[in-house]
């Protein structure tokens, strides 16, 4: 259940971008800052329940890393998945690591 699951290779990742992996039927959004800091959250935006977050722009807001949904610009913390606009939404977050150029997630 909580084993590390391999989702991709570092070579396929673009710096400062998002990508989506399908793990046990779930869509996981994976983001990185400069291929150094990595985050994994659910790919579905709770506002409309569409699987799109990995295509959002990432950045920071008051030093909190965030993703901005491409559909309606709702913003979420990548640290804990909490909405940055005082809405009731929280994204599921997952552990992520890079080991020997392979990307793994855990907690699904």
């Amino acid at each position: 259940m909580s084993d590390w699951i391999q989702v991709g290779a570092l070579v396929d990742a673009q710096p400062n971008a998002g990508m989506c992996a399908k793990v046990n039927g779930k869509h996981i959004a994976i983001f990185n800052f400069d291929l150094e800091r990595w985050y994994a959250v659910q790919n579905t935006c709770p506002h409309d329940n569409r699987s799109v977050l990995s295509r959002g722009i990432i950045g920071d807001s008051a030093h909190e890393p965030k993703v901005v949904c491409p559909l309606h610009k709702n913003q979420f913390s990548l640290e804990n998945g909490v909405s940055l606009e005082d809405k009731d939404w929280v994204l599921e977050t997952y552990e992520i690591k890079i080991d020997d150029e392979i990307i793994y997630v855990k907690g699904l």
């Binding site: 391999q6 989702v7 991709g8 396929d12 990742a13 673009q14 710096p15 400062n16 971008a17 990508m19 989506c20 992996a21 399908k22 793990v23 869509h27 994976i30 800052f33 506002h47 409309d48 569409r50 699987s51 799109v52 295509r55 959002g56 722009i57 990432i58 950045g59 920071d60 807001s61 008051a62 030093h63 890393p65 965030k66 901005v68 491409p70 559909l71 309606h72 610009k73 005082d86 809405k87 009731d88």
Partner: protein
């Protein structure tokens, strides 16, 4: 043990009370319990109609459910209080629970009054008060063609606008001889009726409804004068009645015509029971606006905590936008035939504007005012009214726009510090100045620390004027920072970037900014780089919206649209066949777009490059419908076919589209070319509009449709084709240089110091001496145009982007469609 304060009703005023009590009750004397009969927490009923924009109730939410629990407030939704026992101080709900209270706040609001019209219970008759009402109206409208709104007050007109937007043939029925009889006068109503009728609704005055007929559902409405209208649905908006039934059955005093009688401290005849908002009757008056309701909530909360506070009636002045038309009233706006007053009236039927000042002859102060069509002076005149300020010797200057355009900012300086600016939160000019002196430099900060502008929002521009003026007065500079990562404005950032040799966002933020960036600065920098360097955005990885990244517009279900360029709207039958074939093969939704092009909708990311490969093989190129750049140039068939045409509008449209395509601009740009003054291409509604004349072309600039339509203004008349291109080249590049991010040309021109005359000086007379540079910049853009889709398909690295999952080659199977009118549509 804490005392129990129970609030019955969780509307805007009920919530305001809770907030006031939380803030004032520093000793935590009270436990707050709130009952609301609606399914969701209090929402912004003032903005109810905007629900139709997103259909998401959360967009109207004021505070989330967790806000209540976080603040220790017990909120019970979907639970209606049905009985009170005032001697035992208990209440009983429809869920069968009984609980005790020490203090009871009745904030039960009102219900829509439905006149006793025969047949009013038929299917298809609605009221307009809750989100559920709007949801029902929307679903019923799907099978309806025409609608009647009973009631021409402000809510009725809002409902009518919503029905027009839902595609209904819409009628407004008003019993009185004018619209909005409580706010405006006969002449104001005449102007308003004319405006509303041009928007597509029919207005019927002096009409009383007699019966609604039809088998089970509405089929027609019959009036007392014998006339009738065939209609599919009816929305009743004939005023409100206070919800006083709970008070009444427990023996609390009720007014003769309803309403819970309260004194100046908002107490009923039972000292433990208060009533606030639309259910309360104060001095024999029911206040149906949110601002007085908020004032009652504030006064009632203060009274409960032993402070000396009172509600002594409220001003009913109001400003709103009805069907896109500004309407406002101040004070005794409907006063007529009073020997003590005189008036100043301006009727501009040509532009649909009416303004009237009602002036006290002796004191030369304002007693009331009416605005229809343009209420830009409302804020200033309200201050004259509220502060009993003496009017200038010639008050007409207050409502006629001077040729020089006296700015509202000048009016701001004349206000006393005590002037109330935000009536919802009762914030004075002095409070705002204090906030600025304490360091506030944005409207957002002022909203946070004073709450000004957080209610109906109509005072926000006044707040900004006061703030800017105060900042400038103290020698400060108005904050124009792009975002928290860059202290530069867009214009300053662009100028600085052009001095350097930047080629990526990373380099720019490292040199000129801080942090990781955000959705604002990343997209702005990407657009600026593309506007003067023109490596296409393809090379700027991951700093752009998904639309620029996938070169397609994302749709609500995560699929994308494909819109190839069809310059000037001209397309051969053979090319049409290619689009038809692709649409059919991939089962895409096909539609003619608003820009004379054909859109194919519903493609997955995997399908995008495959389909574009086919399109490019067939001779299409990208239409940049996904970008902030030139969209399309609309044209009529012009001189070549039309018997009235005097210029070859199609040729010019194609030339313009090919000339400016691809250039990234601060916002999207649209153009139109008409072959004669009949203007079939609607060019004057575009950023650039060109209309053929007997002697050449007339060039109009800086118009736009969208949220706030504005006609383009004539820039040059009877000029030849080459000069048209020269002028547009220079204006566009000057716009790219000086506009703020996401600023359309219309707003840009409105804010440009010196306005149109300045633009002419720059572009025609070259007073800045930059025309050479502007032309060079444009030439560079034209020479370096590349079709982004062609490149993406040929470049294997870029092509790899078009995958839904990194760990699977299958597409997203969870995306589903339903079939509507023979085509796919995203499943709801």
């Amino acid at each position: 043990m804490k005392k129990k304060c129970v609030v019955v009703g969780n509307g805007m005023v009920g919530l305001k009370y809770v907030k006031e009590l939380l803030e004032k009750d520093t000793e935590k004397e009270y436990e707050i319990i709130v009952y609301g009969e609606e399914v969701r927490p209090a929402y912004d009923r003032v903005q109810l109609t905007s629900f139709f924009n997103t259909l998401d109730p959360l967009d109207l939410e004021i505070e989330s459910s967790s806000w209540y629990s976080d603040n220790g407030v017990t909120l019970k939704t979907s639970e209606k209080v049905i009985a009170l026992d005032r001697s035992a101080k208990t209440l009983t709900t429809d869920q069968g629970t009984t609980s005790i209270y020490d203090t009871l706040i009745l904030a039960t609001g009102s219900y829509p009054f439905v006149p006793p019209i025969q047949g009013k219970d038929k299917q298809g008759v609605f009221v307009y008060r809750t989100i559920e009402d709007l949801q029902n109206i929307r679903s019923y409208s799907v099978t309806s063609k025409s609608a009647v709104v009973i009631g021409g007050g402000l809510l009725g007109l809002e409902a009518a606008k919503a029905l027009i937007d839902l595609g209904m043939e819409t009628h407004v029925i008003e019993f009185a001889s004018r619209l909005m009889p409580n706010q405006i006068d006969d002449q104001g109503s005449k102007v308003l009726v004319e405006k509303i009728e041009t928007l597509g609704a029919r207005v019927h005055l002096n009409k009383a409804s007699q019966s609604i007929e039809g088998k089970d559902s509405v089929e027609k409405i019959v009036f007392t004068d014998g006339t009738e209208l065939m209609v599919d649905m009816i929305v009743v908006s004939a005023g409100i009645r206070p919800r006083d039934e709970l008070a009444k059955q427990s023996g609390i005093s009720i007014g003769e015509r309803g309403g819970i009688i309260v004194d100046d401290t908002l107490k009923t005849n039972d000292p433990n029971v208060y009533a606030i908002g639309e259910c309360a009757l104060h001095n024999n008056f029911i206040y149906g606006l949110v601002a007085p309701g908020y004032q009652m909530a504030t006064a009632a909360a203060a009274t409960l905590l032993g402070e000396k506070a009172s509600f002594e009636g409220a001003d009913m002045s109001t400003k709103l936008k009805l069907m896109g038309v500004d309407v406002a009233s101040i004070g005794a706006s409907t006063l007529v035939d009073d020997p003590d007053v005189t008036t100043v009236e301006i009727l501009n039927s040509y532009e649909g504007v009416y303004k009237k000042l009602i002036i006290d002859k002796e004191s030369q102060t304002l007693r009331g005012a009416v605005f229809v069509g343009d209420a830009s002076e409302y804020g200033q005149l309200l201050q004259y009214y509220k502060n009993d300020m003496q009017l200038p010797p010639s008050p007409i200057q207050l409502i006629v726009k001077g040729v020089e355009g006296d700015s509202e900012g000048a009016g701001v300086t004349a206000l006393p510090d005590a002037a109330q600016i935000c009536s919802c939160e009762n914030i004075s000019k002095g409070n705002i100045i204090d906030a600025v002196q304490d360091g506030a430099t944005t409207v957002g900060t002022i909203k946070k620390c004073t709450k000004a502008g957080t209610g109906c929002g109509s005072c926000v521009s006044l707040i900004k004027d006061i703030m800017d003026h105060e900042i400038q007065k103290s020698g400060g500079v108005v904050d124009t920072a792009l975002c928290e990562h860059f202290s530069y404005s867009r214009v300053a950032l662009r100028d600085t970037m052009q001095q350097g040799s930047f080629s990526s966002f990373k380099e720019v933020i490292t040199a000129l900014g801080t942090g990781d960036g955000c959705e604002v600065c990343k997209t702005t920098v990407a657009s600026i780089l593309a506007s003067y360097q023109n490596p296409t955005l393809l090379e700027q990885q991951n700093v752009q919206e998904t639309n620029d990244y996938y070169l397609a517009n994302i749709q609500k279900n995560g699929t994308y649209s494909i819109i190839p360029r069809i310059a000037g709207g001209e397309i051969t039958a053979a090319m049409l066949g290619v689009l038809a074939e692709i649409g059919q093969e991939y089962d895409l939704y096909t539609k003619i777009t608003g820009a004379q092009r054909i859109g194919l909708y519903g493609a997955t990311v995997e399908q995008l490059p495959v389909i574009w490969e086919r399109l490019i093989d067939a001779g299409f190129e990208t239409g940049q419908a996904y970008a902030k750049s030139l969209r399309a140039v609309k044209s009529c068939v012009g001189q070549a076919w039309c018997r009235y045409g005097v210029g070859d509008s199609t040729q010019l449209a194609i030339d313009l589209e090919n000339r400016y395509k691809g250039l990234r601009t601060p916002h999207k740009i649209k153009m139109g070319v008409s072959g004669c003054a009949r203007e079939c291409a609607e060019a004057q509604g575009k950023d650039f509009g060109i209309i053929a004349t007997e002697n050449g072309w007339n060039l109009y600039v800086c118009g736009n449709g969208g949220m706030k339509p504005q006609h383009a203004v004539l820039f040059a008349a009877d000029i030849d084709r080459d000069l048209v291109l020269d002028y547009i080249d220079r204006i566009i590049m000057y716009y790219v240089r000086t506009a703020d991010r996401l600023e359309r040309t219309a707003t840009w021109l409105n804010k440009l110091p010196g306005g149109l005359e300045h633009l002419k000086d720059v572009v025609i007379h070259d007073i800045l001496g930059i025309n050479g540079e502007l032309e060079e910049e444009m030439k560079f853009s034209i020479d370096t145009f590349r079709c982004e889709w062609k490149e993406s398909i040929e470049n294997t690295k870029i092509r790899q982007r078009f995958k839904t999952f990194i760990n699977s080659d299958v597409t997203d199977n969870d995306i589903s469609f339903s079939e509507v009118r023979g085509q796919i549509q995203p499943a709801q």
